[in-house]
Amino acid sequence: MQRLLFELRNRLHAPSRNPRTAVVFGRLLAIAFLLCFGTGIYSHFIQEPLPWMSFATRPIWLYQVTQGVHIVAGILCFPLIFAKLYAVYPELFKTPPITGFANFLERASIALFVASSLVQITIGLLNTYQWYALFPFPFRQTHFALSFVIIGSLAIHIAVKLPIIAKYWRKKDNYEPEPELEPDQFVPAAGELQPIHGITGKVFNWIDSSPEAQKPQASRRGFFVIFGLASAALVTLTAGQSFKVFDATNVFGPRKNGIGPNALPINRTAKKADVVDKASSPDWRLTVINGTAAMTYSLAELNAMPQYEVELPIACVEGWSQMATWKGPRLRDLIDSVDGEAIGTVKATSLEEGSLYAISEMGPEFARDELTLVALEVNGETLDLDHGYPARLIAPARPGVLQTKWLSSLEVLA
């Protein structure tokens, strides 16, 4: 068996699989992981802020870009992780598999790293298709917890491989002479290397009777070119759901700009939220509350207030986003009507009941912003029922799930 693993490992030795390639792809993968982690943490805390937290409201496309980057970098992790694993592929057949306790820890940490990374990018991708039935665990909590496991494993992995990383960091330091495989514990002495007989021997002889790749440089360069083309194709054909420049070539994105009511995609329909009757009722009122002071507005009264038109993106946590033109009264004008100027944190309640997103809170940085509206119109039309008719929140640099639809009340919190 040991001999078999040794032979396998040597058969797999190819010019494109060397420490330099592993370092190059390792670096790119680390950057992608850190981008996903940073943007993911940002998205997490903007949805569940700690009491002292305050967020930037400009540029207005901030969240659109952080979450777009999160999804694009996440998709790029697929070619990156496979390229990286391909570059270190022979290590899988290292013999003996474990040489001691430290080595056991190292290999176990790599198994954890590989498994958690593969699970993370897979459930992330499936989440953009909303195919939750496939995993028997909650997406958001698991995705969040695994992100720490991955970055922790990454730090340990870098520490373990630091000598190799340092040695092959710069291009001029490597390739020549051709780096050797990290030696196995099991190295047959010259005389001992008898031909293997039987089927195994025949298979290896059959493989060996072909010439080796003659041009190591072409092979390495080819590997990088293939990776580059794959990544460019992935971005070009999917990133249009998040970035307008790729909209024309968006053929595989799970969302498409312009498709949906009011020419805008949606996540939760009025029917799903069970608000169709209440939202279309002429008796609908928006209540604005500050302690004991309260005001009620009918749709006509909201329409009679000073109207503002703003260009703001709707940017979903799932990564898709689209710019739209919104129109309606400013949130702060409504808050001021109940003397809520000084306080500023606002709790918005939807007609929708019992859902995680039926209630949202926004800090004063968003509530006082001149671009934050109680929108009544989008893209020149009355809000569609599925976009939150009769009224919804829209604020700059904020995830779509917090832009509460089918508003029922706004409450200034002490």
Partner: protein, 146 residues
């Protein structure tokens, strides 16, 4: 280097603990088995299935290198890799679309047709690249006859 390594490992272990605590605090214990199955499944699919398949393809490629020029093999390999990658990403999308989505703005495109078009385009580009490569190779051989 030693200090850097110690700091990195300490930082990494701390984050692993944070991850474990977050998992324990936010995910119900009844879900742990599902997560463990996914982890094992990832390793089995990667090490047990993808690994040997890639090895098999490498062997076939190497066997073919006697009759087919190396550059051509490289181009074919590249096309196979890109095709496989898109298959892995788009096929789940097609399957989910078939099952049905929460609303018509989710997965609104004709992904099946687009994937077929993509395969055809990939095949055409691959064939063109091979033709260009063989042409260049022949010209080179004419200029520098062996």
């Amino acid at each position: 280097m030693k200090i850097t390594r110690v700091i990195l490992i300490a930082f990494g272990v701390a984050l692993l603990i944070v991850g474990a605590l977050v998992l324990l605090a936010t995910v119900e214990p009844t879900n742990y088995l599902g997560i463990a199955i996914w982890f094992l499944g990832a390793l089995i699919i990667h090490d047990g299935i993808l690994g040997p398949v890639v090895f098999g393809v490498s062997v076939v490629m190497r066997k073919s290198s006697r009759r087919i020029p190396f550059g051509v093999l490289l181009i074919i390999q590249g096309a196979l890799v890109i095709g496989a990658l898109f298959t892995a990403i788009v096929v789940p999308e097609i399957l989910k679309q078939g099952i049905g989505t929460a609303n018509p703005t989710l997965l609104p495109l004709e992904y099946g047709r687009n994937l077929v078009v993509f395969y055809v385009a990939l095949a055409v580009v691959t064939a063109a690249a091979i033709a260009v490569y063989i042409g260049m190779r022949r010209r080179k051989q004419q200029h520098h006859p062996a």
